[in-house]
């Protein structure tokens, strides 16, 4: 009994495209602008977008499982508020602040995950409400910006870890890279990670196969909450302040990164690596615009929007192309090839 090999391996293609996109952009920038092509410029992508990287890693797991989480931007903001408030107003030591903030994020994520799974409620609505909740709690903590003067924090913000030559990374970037590595390991080598894929592929089947669907689903949202909180802490290393309007729209940036990284919004397919490259693309666009100098930085939004369109369009084309190539025995809904009357 011979297998029918798919004509194109559907799994690696999207990531490859994203990678090519990134290389193309970086090269274009290097050619067009002086000083663009440098190791530090590359490392800056990680430094400046560390928070987004962490958010996107958590979001990748959520989306692979077939869910979605719209609350991450607000959770990030809440984390910055709580952290700065505890440091500056309550004068707690970072030794306590960091675990408290991380626990808070995890707990909120757990709460939402529980509601979603136990009562079969749509993730869209529940995390939407979570967005309101977190944003509102931000204002409860403080309406004004809180500047962080804590010594440890200041050190974390300004210190650099030197690498070869004059290039360096920040602690924030290192944390982000650590989460990336953790994400890679979890998705590939742990039962939990594989269960996430299974749930995204067919939740009903996963249940019948005896997989711990309930625990995994709730854990995914809890982990995402953890990532949001961690991203918030890393963000404060960057900005040294807590501000309630932080993170507005960041959830969309995270989702865009996941999509551009090749993960299907329907769930079941995707990779951490793709997400990482997508965040690099995002960062490169911003740097390009900055180097260009005259363009409104809001153009980043438009370009990202266009890229999301491009990727989804390609995914869609590929889906219908696959249907044409593979002979399906049962009748299926097929694309109508000309306009209806």
């Amino acid at each position: 009994m011979k297998a029918r090999r798919p004509v194109i391996n559907p799994r690696s293609l999207p990531v490859l495209i994203t990678l090519i996109l990134f290389l193309a952009m970086f090269s274009a920038g290097s050619i067009a602008f002086m000083g663009f092509f440098s190791l530090q410029n590359f490392l800056n992508l990680f430094i400046d977008n560390a928070y987004l990287l962490i958010l996107a890693i958590g979001m990748t797991f959520v989306i692979i499982s077939g869910g979605i989480d719209l609350s991450v931007g607000s959770m990030l903001a809440l984390s910055t508020m709580v952290a700065s408030s505890l440091l500056e107003k309550s004068h707690l030591s970072p030794v306590f602040v960091i675990p408290i903030v991380l626990a808070m994020g995890t707990a909120l994520g757990l709460f939402m995950g529980y509601l979603i799974h136990a009562f079969n409620l749509p993730p869209f609505i529940i995390t939407l409400a979570g967005l309101y909740l977190a944003r509102g709690l931000c204002y409860v903590v403080s309406i004004d910006t809180i500047a962080i003067t804590n010594e440890f924090w200041q050190k974390a913000a300004y210190s650099r870890i030197d690498l070869i030559g004059y290039n360096s990374l920040t602690p924030g970037a290192l944390i982000a890279i650590g989460i990336v590595l953790a994400g890679l390991y979890i998705s590939r080598f742990t039962k939990f990670g594989r269960t996430v894929y299974a749930i995204g592929g067919n939740e009903q089947s996963a249940l019948l196969m005896g997989l711990p669907v309930a625990g995994t689903k709730i854990a995914i949202y809890a982990f995402n909450g953890f990532c949001s909180a961690l991203a918030g802490i890393v963000f404060t290393f960057y900005t040294l302040s807590g501000y309630a309007l932080n993170g507005k729209g960041m959830e969309l940036d995270a989702i865009a990164a996941v999509v551009i990284g090749g993960t299907l919004l329907t769930g079941g397919a995707g990779s951490i690596l793709g997400t990482v490259v997508a965040v690099l693309v995002y960062g490169t666009i911003q740097v390009l615009i900055m180097f260009q100098g005259t363009l409104n930085s809001w153009w980043t939004r438009i370009v990202i929007g266009f890229l999301v369109f491009l990727f989804c369009f390609l995914q869609r084309l590929f889906e219908s192309g696959k249907n044409a190539l593979v002979w399906k025995e049962r009748p299926q809904e097929t694309q109508v090839s000309s306009a209806d009357l």
Binding site: L115, N120, F124, A129, Y132, R135, L265, N296, R316, D340
Partner: protein, 337 residues
């Protein structure tokens, strides 16, 4: 009778609204007080419908989109685009002189927004993209477009006639509510007095079977998204007129979320199928009443976000099949299979 009401799904939203109003009746001083000042009605209730108007407009279009088992998360950004376009065309001249006639500016803004809706419609119906993905694009890019239109500045308007839209009164009531009622009525007639409503519901329940039944489901999908864009355009005009300014960054912020919530609270399921325009209006009123109640208690307005979230959780739980089944079991009643 109770069963029929329950099935019509408008019972619970009305009950929720009634509870809110009752709460205010007992606990908020002067909540229901209405005075006549400056020739029009004035009071908390008036504030509620006035502030709810932009969301209600969005909810009208969104109800039809959600009925087709779709979603449109770009409406907030389209509101910003509408405000930006109309403000740019009217111009911020301090004397109130306009660059283009106000009617023309409004028409162009509506055209642009309907085109944005058609873009969404094209992605969903012709290319076959998932609605959340398709509208995500405009959500992300739309705000950028709005900011580019206004050159990232807040545009202030001084052309008095334009203010009538959002701030004027007709027969004592805010003019904006007349716009809402008009659009609501027009939509209601179009969907219930023709086969359009049935076709929309059919598309939402089973798009394949709809096509096989000889109905042009693609055109229907295209149309509802275009209409949603149009509604967002109208909403943007009202928003701009109310504050006589266009802020590309903040206009329409979180509107899509409020609008979707309104539709869900009103009884239309996110899975598509049966839709309830009136229910969505009640839903929008619930959200606004909540916000106004909180203001009336001098609680920091930001708390309203927290309360909104808790309300959503509460309503979702109540509407959840699992919870209802569990409660039915506990109360000893059995749901007919």
């Amino acid at each position: 009778m109770l069963k029929a009401l329950n099935r019509s799904k408008i019972l619970w939203p009305l009950v929720a609204l009634a509870i809110l109003l009752l709460f205010n009746l007992f606990f908020t001083p002067n909540f229901f007080r209405m005075e006549i000042m400056e020739g029009h009605l004035f009071g908390n209730l008036i504030d509620i419908i006035k502030n709810a108007a932009p969301i209600m407009l969005l909810a009208i279009g969104l109800t039809l989109v959600i009925a087709t088992h779709g979603i449109d998360i770009s409406v907030g950004s389209v509101v910003a685009i509408s405000a930006g376009v109309v403000a740019m065309l009217i111009g911020g001249d301090l004397e109130g002189n306009t660059r283009f006639p106000i009617a023309f500016a409004m028409a162009v803004a509506l055209l642009v927004c309907t085109t944005a809706g058609m873009w969404n419609g094209m992605l969903v119906s012709r290319i076959g993209m998932q609605p959340i993905v398709a509208t995500l694009i405009l959500f992300v890019a739309g705000r950028g477009i709005a900011m580019v239109t206004t050159n990232a500045m807040v545009i202030w308007l001084y052309a008095e006639p334009f203010a009538y839209l959002g701030q004027g009164y007709l027969l004592g009531l805010p003019f904006s509510i007349y716009i809402v009622v008009f659009l609501l009525l027009a939509t209601f007639l179009a969907t219930r007095k023709t086969a359009l409503g049935m076709f929309i519901e059919a598309v939402g329940i089973n798009p394949t079977a709809t096509r096989f039944a000889g109905i042009n489901s693609k055109n229907i999908l295209f149309g509802v998204y275009a209409f949603s864009g149009f509604c967002a355009g109208v909403s943007g005009l009202i928003v701009c007129s109310t504050v006589m300014s266009a802020d590309g960054n903040n206009a329409g912020n979180l509107f899509e979320l409020d609008a979707i919530l309104a539709v869900v609270l009103g009884g239309t399921s996110l899975n598509g199928g049966r839709f309830f325009l009136l229910g969505s209006m009640v839903g929008a009123l619930i959200i606004q009443t909540l916000t106004t109640t909180i203001y009336a208690f001098n609680v920091p307005p930001e708390i309203s976000q927290v309360v909104k979230a808790l309300v959503v959780y509460g309503v979702s739980l109540l509407q959840s099949d699992r919870l209802q089944a569990a409660l039915a079991g506990v109360l000893g009643r059995r749901e007919a299979a």
